[in-house]
Symmetry: D2
């Protein structure tokens, strides 16, 4: 059985998540993990997963000749230099989203990747979700005819910390970017125009920090379809992630995932438990699948399922949305070059 | 447009219900209504519906040559004599269920009907419910193949008064009799054996009065299928009326009807309102349809959709269930002659 | 029992619908119905409902001193003159939506109504729908906290005829106008800004006639909430009418209404029947309720549940949407004066 | 971190399933696996999981002093001798259901376990299912008041092979035994009486082999509740596993689990994919949890969540059901001694 040797840069929540899934993949050897903060706790955790080397210097990973692929799970501002460095070192790359808060820098990183001829996958894990995959499959299979309307609901259970909001790049780049990718994924078409409405309804401090917490984003697609995304940073009932694609021959809708199917009827009505709490619960399987497919793509010499172009397009849409919000007008993607 | 002249015997809840629906049927003239208790309130109500004559003597209806059909909505103990009398007077008959608490008397009434050559329809209104009609249609249309299992849930929101329990004939004859008819209706097959479990779990007084308030009734059908009915006199969340037919090629289930489709998501879970409260709300349309079809059957010279044989069979099953409960053993319908 | 004498102008589909419901209302006497085309068929139908007079001259209704209220169910272009005339004749008015394709004319009609001191109700029947009423009730009751997002899906099963499209006033004025009213109704707030995207995806002839058949309309509300309406002239699975209001403490969603609850499980998946076909089926009860409440408002000397201001506001939003579509920019309601 | 050394007897489907889950449990070392058929394929599979020793002689496991717990996943006829042997060797035991086709032998095995003072857990994995656990929790928490009716639907997608049917012990012992355990689990009460109806509707050969393929089993519980289980060996739409507990204060129902939530609306109706196919898909998580809890119970010196008494009671109910079917009468559990 072919095996791939990988290194992981960044041992925060998402880095550890990938490490855990990779450690159960029989085709992977995790050679090393790096983090700016190395602790006994981190070392113990790594040992438990059979990762022999923990380092504070990511360059060790870049310089290790045996490492064939790197997972870049460090903070967003490091993504472009690390991608460039990894590409130049001839390593395949899995990078968390977004690649950059500035799509022009992303373009530079993609050039480095292209020149090096390595594979780059971006962390749009929702493409591997069982619900959205089924929507894509049905749309691609022509079950609903030509798509006319794409509707995406994406609401978090609670806003991030104010400190995070400051560096997040804003709701469009940090949160809606997944939805921009989803819009392209389920429609099978490019977004050509964006009109974004935003509001501060959840937490005034978010507004003071220059961001919004509620949004309705209208889209036009290259194939003529229209679309709309609605976002909120705070759905008190939990993570709300639904998609609808309506077309000439029908429509497909997804509901949320739930922790159980129990329905309780009482004198006061009928109730069920709230949906799975947040992305770690809801997208658990999709995280496993995205890394498994990245590994398989490399080992089989195939294209990755979500590439640099996908990352770039989502970033451009986010940029267009932000421009639209600031200028109070619809913005064409051709303006974003 | 052909018109039918009818008389109604009994102006209680169900008699008035039928009167109101008949009064909106352009093919019906309600000539007269009788009740043992005539009041100003009753007269005013009747006048509002355009019923000119209210009488305390049902015999006026029997003797009125112009009345072509009678609705027997009086107490159960009067059904057999009134059917016999109406049949001998050459009138078509709509009779509420059950015809009698003693199926042998029902057989006598049916003989009178047969000799007179009049039509007799019994008030199994649930056959006209949009959900159960759809089940019947799907089963008859072969959509689920050969039926293997028939499951009926039938629970009331609250038990009747103790006074009513005393004269009701018991849970099997009063309440489950609808389900016995439903079992025959959705399966398209006769019940051949019954095993009944009963319990007093809702109200001990019901037990003291010699009745039960909770039941699980196992059935065997002539076509080999098995079945089960579960009953309770008290579902705190409201009227619970569901059916499932499982067969060789699939299954069909119905849910309850609801007053609205609103689903509310809050921090404490996801809610919806309880089902439609009781039979008047849930079976509103079916009551209209059953009388409309009775009228149409007469005017068109066709068979009625639920006839005396249907009434008799349900009563026999109820008798078998009661015997089963008393003797603690399965009872074959061939024992009930 | 107090009784109201009414006249109906226009005996097309909607005029007859109201007539049938009114004929069953014990507090109403329909004195007369007028239509430009009087036929034997119309006379027979009217007689069946107990309407003694059918006329081709609506002025007979206006001049009949006994008629206290008129139902204006004629073509849209007659609404303003008929309202004005009825108001001057001192009659209460029920008028179908929209009052006019030109909101400035609507304003004039409303002035006449105000001067005459009569009641005017407009035919936004969806406010009487059991689902939407429940949403309104929950939002008003604070069950979802402050509204943040209002989402309305409104899709017809099939486009109207090309002839109708020509005179309809366009998708916004003819179809979405119900949704504009719904947006105000469920949010409890005024719309202050509109951005409309439109497309011709269903039928190119609709485009040639200068109209669109698909739309996504973004809204801003006075209370800070955002909203979106999506429309299509053709949902192959039937009439699709859903609403969601998302707020600080939760969310409420409605689903469509269905002809039955049967769910069929087969080797090929799990099926249920499509929603109720079109507005006559889906909104049946709401049509009955809107006229009943209009009658009750007059008899009780109360305000009508949907007044002229409601009609005007919806028309202004439609105008703003059309302007937005034509000019490719968001339009503030303050621009529409 | 404490670690437990285990051996696995039987490397068929279920033995391998447990091995795979145990291999990912950081607190477990799988020392050895035995099977009567040792092959290169088996050895390679074992090596992949890090199991160093594969043997055809289960006695090696019994005699290995370091092995603290054994998983008995061999054929049913070996369970009693292996339990006895393992108990005498002082090892904790996880044994697949049923322990024996003859409940009297099960009683002997349990005696050996008791004398040895070791822990014994039986493989009623459904107790660890997220849906049924939630039902139990709600019932135990009093959310539905006193249980009155317990309803269990349990249908397989396809019957087992005829060869398997011959040795299975029959539908009650092989398939319904899970449901007998579920009845005790969700009700929190003992079954005291059973009446079983059976039929051969799926495959006549199953009847020729002396078994049935369709059943309706009525139950009485010690707390007065009534119950019913329905079984079929063939639900063409897939694995059907649902439970309802109805009580004095409400009811709780579970639905099946589905591979996705996509709902497709087309001209021909609304459909969704069938439920998760069979027990490996549906009960995936529950298999992981049952072994994890067994391991944790041993390491923490706690009681196991499903013990020998639970196994014995389910077998007794199965025996009562079989007797009931053969003798055509209700059978009390007190008859089964």
């Amino acid at each position: 059985m072919a095996k791939l040797t990988v290194g992981i840069i960044g041992a925060g929540r998402i880095g550890r998540l990938h490490a855990e899934h990779l450690s159960r993949n029989a085709q992977v050897e995790i050679r090393m993990i790096s983090d700016v903060f190395v602790s006994d706790e981190l070392s113990a955790w790594a040992e438990g997963l059979g990762i022999s080397r923990v380092t504070s210097d990511y360059k060790e990973i870049m310089q290790d000749q045996d490492i064939q692929a790197v997972f870049i799970c460090s903070s967003t501002n490091t993504h472009v230099p690390f991608i460039t460095e990894a590409a130049q070192a001839g390593k395949h790359i899995f990078c968390e989203k977004p690649i950059s808060l500035d799509y022009r820098q992303t373009m530079e990183a993609l050039q480095a990747v292209e020149q090096a001829g390595v594979l780059l996958q971006t962390g749009f894990n929702r493409r591997f979700d069982h619900n959205f995959k089924r929507v894509r499959e049905l749309v691609q299979g022509g079950k609903i005819g030509q798509p006319h309307l794409i509707k995406i609901t994406s609401r978090d259970p609670a806003p991030p910390s104010h400190d995070y909001v400051k560096v997040s790049g804003g709701l469009f780049m940090d949160m809606a970017i997944h939805d921009f990718d989803m819009a392209r994924y389920v429609s099978g078409s490019e977004v050509v125009e964006v009109y974004a409405q935003g509001a501060v309804l959840v937490d005034p401090v978010i507004g003071e920090l220059g961001d919004i917490d509620t949004a309705v984003i209208s889209l036009k697609f290259a194939n003529g379809a229209l679309g709309v995304i609605d976002n909120s940073r705070k759905a008190v009932y939990g993570y709300d992630q639904r998609v609808e694609v309506f077309g000439s021959e029908g429509s497909v809708c997804t509901n949320n995932d739930f922790p159980n199917t129990a329905e309780i009827s009482t004198q006061n009505g009928i109730y069920r438990d709230n949906p799975k709490f947040f992305f770690l619960e809801r997208y658990h399987e999709s995280y496993i699948d995205e890394t498994a497919q990245f590994i398989a793509s490399i080992l089989n010499g195939e294209k990755v399922p979500v590439d640099g172009h996908d990352a770039l397009q989502a970033e451009k849409i986010a940029f267009a949305a932000k421009t639209s919000l600031l200028e109070g007008r619809p913005v064409k993607l051709t303006e974003v070059q």
